[in-house]
């Protein structure tokens, strides 16, 4: 299980391949968030952010078969088309991999302390993100 908050970009292919080495793995589901249209700066709460991501991963492991998992979230200045976040989950079968991956993203959106600032100002939180997280309760 790997959780990383970093300025540097990531190689999604290499991260996904690293999750497929265990012969018990039959499925790897992944999600990549990308900067859409407007440049932004991402701020976080050092310490709490990593802790919150780890708690979300632990919660997913309690609900589904998660053989391995990687969560990488970037911080700092990002421009359109840059990758922001990677969530990749390895499981025996696709159902658990898909569900755990989507759950981790939905919870990350509402529980992990990151904030986006664009030239026009701070990005407002969306009610639709709260709804997306609610459905897992």
């Amino acid at each position: 299980m790997k959780v990383s908050v970093q300025v540097a970009d990531f190689d999604a292919g290499a991260e996904i391949r690293a999750l497929s080495r265990d012969p018990k793995v039959g499925a790897v589901a992944s999600f990549i968030g990308v900067v859409r249209e407007v440049a932004m700066t991402l701020e976080h709460y050092p310490g709490m952010t990593e802790r919150a991501l780890q708690k979300i991963v632990d919660e997913a492991r309690g609900r589904w078969q998660v053989l391995d998992c990687t969560v990488i979230h970037r911080i700092g200045a990002l421009k359109p088309t840059d990758q922001i976040v990677l969530v990749a989950v390895a499981s025996g079968h696709r159902g658990d991999a898909f569900a755990a991956c989507e759950f981790i993203m939905d919870y990350l959106k509402t529980q992990a302390p990151f904030w986006k600032k664009e030239a026009a100002g701070w990005v407002e939180a969306r009610a639709s993100d709260d709804k997306a997280a609610e459905r897992w309760k």
């Binding site: 968030g33 991402l42 701020e43 976080h44 709460y45 310490g47 709490m48 802790r51 919150a52 979230h73 922001i84 976040v85 993203m105 990350l108 959106k109 509402t110 529980q111 992990a112 302390p113 990151f114 904030w115 986006k116 600032k117 100002g121 701070w122 990005v123 407002e124 939180a125 969306r126 993100d129």
Partner: protein, 85 residues
């Protein structure tokens, strides 16, 4: 009672500081109490932390409810709803 208070994102800009050590009167024992104590500092604080304003709070790096207890040595944080991902 001394503790550390952190502010992030829009809230940090509104109150003008990122972190501080604060010495609280003994009657302030919860997050809600601390929030209301801080609003007495002036207009910027009142508008950033006013009741009804949608903010999130954490105690020792875990999200916490307004009723959560705070004690000496805690790290408390105030911030807007998160927008990562």
């Amino acid at each position: 009672m001394k503790l550390k208070v952190l502010y992030f994102a829009a809230l940090r800009e509104q109150v003008g500081i990122a972190s501080e050590e604060i010495d609280l009167p003994r009657e302030v024992t919860t997050l809600a109490g601390l929030r209301s104590h801080l609003t007495q500092r002036g207009d910027a604080w009142k508008s950033a932390l006013a009741e009804g304003k949608l903010i999130r709070m954490a105690v020792n790096q875990d999200m916490a409810k307004p009723s959560a207890a705070i004690k000496a040595g805690d790290e408390v944080a105030f911030f807007p709803p998160v927008t990562g991902g």
